[in-house]
Symmetry: C2
Subunit: 191 residues, 2 copies
Amino acid sequence: MKRMEEMILKEGKILPGGVLKVGSFLNQQVDIHFMKEIGDEVARLYKDSGATKILTIESSGIPIAISAGFAMGLPVVYAKKNKSSNVSGDVYSTPVKSFTHGNTNNVVVTKEYLSADDKILIVDDFLAHGSALTGLIDIVNQAGAEVVGCVAAIEKGFQMGGDRLRAEGYRIESLAIVDEMTDDGITFREQ
Amino acid sequence: MKRMEEMILKEGKILPGGVLKVGSFLNQQVDIHFMKEIGDEVARLYKDSGATKILTIESSGIPIAISAGFAMGLPVVYAKKNKSSNVSGDVYSTPVKSFTHGNTNNVVVTKEYLSADDKILIVDDFLAHGSALTGLIDIVNQAGAEVVGCVAAIEKGFQMGGDRLRAEGYRIESLAIVDEMTDDGITFREQ
């Protein structure tokens, strides 16, 4: 998605530790017109997938999932990073390590919101080492449902999570893939 | 909003400790068609407010904020509950006590996403004791911006936060107000 690359070049900031900050349009602050374009692009990519539900993880995956949900007319489920008092009953649960935050969260989805009949499209804002997507795929598998594919708004190609999941046979679509990120600039993978 | 009351009666579950669980359509799982109705209703209520930006708090306020953002064509900013490594630079910060989770979070918004020229519409899923809205209002005040009003999808009237904020002069619109919640049923406030 050319527009995603343009927005990253225009608005993105490279922070120490390999962090790409896109808070001005993708998370923290959401450019709502661009977010609609993102949802439309997800819908275009997966229109023939037979997806019945979109799954994401709080918090920064939620705007993308909601926009894709609007574009596709599909319900959205978001995994929570900690079981709280309003997550009742039986849950699917999986540990997810966050490289950004340097911790591991137990990620949960209430069982009644995923069924074995579901065909799940997984979306998130970033795909780096692939831990969040791997965790969400694990939850879908626990439910006996099918993963039709995944979308990341931005993939950090040099952290290999996307290519590892592709090698495992999953359809992984990233709206932009950053293959190199230095003080001199950003190199995108040709798609 | 009659439809919100109907959805609460149809889908809501009362849990111990005064928790109203609406995970099947409002948070955890989002009924995307109903979420569009919510955004349209927020837009109807605040169409003449001059709002320039929508502010919410992660995570369960985000779907409502995004839907309202689509309906109003406004950017969405969401406050984060903990400063993380991708929230860089100067932030507005305020403590917010969660009665659901029983803890206090430092809620932050990066300063560059709120300016003194902004007219802010605050949205959230629940309004109970009013701590989240009070914290978000404090952040808007720190930025020197103006609060044009607040929307809660569901207000627990018996926990008084909404009426306290109304008495302070804020415009608080709740799509449904639960005045009583017992094993025998739910009583809504006439609006």
